[in-house]
């Protein structure tokens, strides 16, 4: 791995360059917007430093709301992932099961939150359960569909090997299909991680009085100049989404380092 240090350095450089580039682009765009006589300029695109100022000014509010949102997101993520994996495992047992269940999941996903939330509240009669349900509902599908595909990714000869041990459904699942599904599962989890924040934000909107979603929606509904937290909350959400994704990536590198693009030593 004589190439390693150089590559690492280059990666950092590129990352830094990208960050600087994005900021520069933002400044230029903001300048363009603000220099016109668009009355909505301030809402459309504030300057980065203005946003940073807002974040600093509202740091305690954002921190508290961010934490609320993150906590819920983590719960939703965990529950959603478990439900997603479970449902895909069930569906992967037989083609007719998949064909029979998928339409219902699709149909369920199509129900807008404004229609779904009241029903969930009515069924569960418990705000906490409803919130977990909503957060998980948002995330589980992305995990489910990924794992479903992953469970089918093992090469046919591997099934023959398992069959020669008379491994049965459960053991084939445990020793072959699930491990083979791990790369796809992590792809699904990468998608689900930031999505769980959205789930959490939606939870904020169904009866809670806190969280970034609540602040943002209120700000966006009422505010323009007055909406101090809006852009700050967006940045915080982006940052949380980034961190959650990175966390998934990190876990993947630890849990499933065998994948081709994570290997060391092979060119």
């Amino acid at each position: 791995m004589s190439l390693a240090p150089g590559t690492k350095g280059r990666e950092r450089l590129i990352t830094a360059a990208v960050v600087v580039g994005v900021l520069a682009l933002w400044y230029v765009a903001a300048l363009l917007v603000q220099s016109g006589d668009d009355p909505l300029a301030a809402s459309k695109l504030p300057y980065p430093h203005g946003v940073i100022e807002q974040i600093v000014d509202n740091r305690s509010v954002l921190a508290e709301a961010g934490w609320t949102t993150l906590k819920q997101a983590l719960i939703g993520f965990a529950v959603g992932a478990v439900v997603g994996i479970f449902s895909s495992v069930v569906m992967a047992q037989a083609a007719w099961l998949e064909a029979g269940v998928i339409p219902f999941i699709l149909a369920a996903q199509m129900i807008p939150m404004i229609a779904l939330v009241p029903i969930a509240q009515n069924i569960f009669k418990n705000d906490d359960v409803t919130r977990i349900f909503i957060a998980a509902f948002i995330t589980f599908f992305s995990v489910s569909i990924a794992v479903l595909r992953g469970l089918k990714s093992a090469p046919p000869p591997a099934y023959e090997l398992m069959s020669s041990y008379n491994a049965g459904r459960a053991k084939t699942l445990r020793y072959l299909r699930l491990p083979a599904a791990v790369p796809m599962m992590f792809t699904g989890l990468r998608i689900a991680a930031p999505l769980s924040l959205v789930g959490s934000v939606l939870v904020d909107l169904s009866g809670a009085q806190s969280g970034l979603g609540y602040l943002m929606l209120a700000a966006i509904t009422f505010g323009s100049e007055g909406a101090a937290v809006l852009w700050g909350a967006m940045i915080v959400l982006l940052a949380l989404g980034f961190l959650m994704t990175q966390a998934v990536v990190l876990v993947e590198r630890i849990v499933a380092p065998w994948q081709p693009d994570l290997r060391h030593g092979k060119a």
């Binding site: 990666e11 990352t15 809402s43 599908f141 796809m184 940052a239 989404g241 980034f242 081709p260």
Partner: protein
């Protein structure tokens, strides 16, 4: 071969049977009783069908408006995600990983927050919806396509390297075909995102489409009509998903072989 046909028949019959049973139970108010749901919260199938029958023209028009936006946003979003995945491939792995995570983080922005902002920029109803959907959809395609294309077996890359295949040739000859299963997974998944996205836009900020119908009907407490619109959405979602499944099998039998 007859077993294959039998399997195929079963795969069509099973969902139908499940559907019929489900609808019958629903019509018999089993779910309403079980969950203590009033029929104004969840109307019965016959009420929904009736509402759909009474408002066919309106729903049909709304469907057209929604579907146009879905198609546009879906194509733009998946296109953008794919192009970005190609760009990521050009970066060294670590940088690509971070950039990928940054793009993925876009999904953390709730649509209810982006939609009003996008609306400031894009007043036109159709393009507004399409833009929001693009923002929602692209990260998924990005992640799937990128991972599919970067996770090819090293031996295959060596083979291509031995021919000094150009980056483009490696892409079209190896990476993209190898990523077909992932790309299709993304395509299937994003149909759902696109539909949800457009509908939420219509609920929040539009004057047309099925989302607007739903919102309007709920506001007026005409829940059967709202659920008729939801039912149409569900059918559209199932139909597009099915089309993709069939398309993949037909076009890429080698990719579906493992299924």
């Amino acid at each position: 071969m007859s077993t294959a046909t039998a399997t195929r028949v079963r795969n069509v019959v099973a969902p139908l049977v499940i559907f019929v049973v489900f609808v019958s139970l629903w019509q018999a108010q089993v779910f309403n009783d079980l969950f203590g749901l009033e029929t104004f919260a969840i109307p019965l199938p016959d009420q929904i069908v009736e509402a759909a029958g009474d408002n066919t023209a309106e729903l049909w028009r709304a469907f057209g408006q929604t579907f146009t936006a879905v198609l546009l946003g879906y194509s733009l979003g998946n296109g953008l995600g794919f192009v970005l995945a190609l760009l990521l491939l050009a970066l060294p792995h670590g940088a690509a990983r971070r950039a990928g995570a940054a793009f993925t983080a876009f999904q953390a922005l709730p649509i209810i927050a982006i939609a009003p902002l996008v609306a400031l920029w894009v007043p036109d109803s159709l393009w507004f919806k399409a833009c929001v959907v693009t923002i929602m959809v692209f990260p998924s395609m990005l992640v799937y396509a990128w991972r599919g294309m970067s996770g090819v077996p090293p031996e295959s890359l060596e083979l291509m390297a031995s021919y000094r295949a150009s980056t483009r040739q490696i892409l079209t000859g190896l990476r993209i075909p190898a990523a077909v299963p992932q790309i299709f997974t993304a395509l299937k998944y994003t149909t759902v995102l696109a539909l949800i996205g457009v509908v939420v836009c219509e609920i929040l900020k539009s004057h047309d489409g099925l989302g607007y119908e739903i919102h309007d009907a709920l506001q007026l407490f005409s829940t059967p009509l709202a659920w008729a619109a939801v039912g149409i959405l569900a059918l559209v979602g199932i139909a597009t998903y099915t089309v993709l499944v069939v398309l993949e099998r037909a076009l890429f039998p080698w990719a579906a072989r493992r299924g």
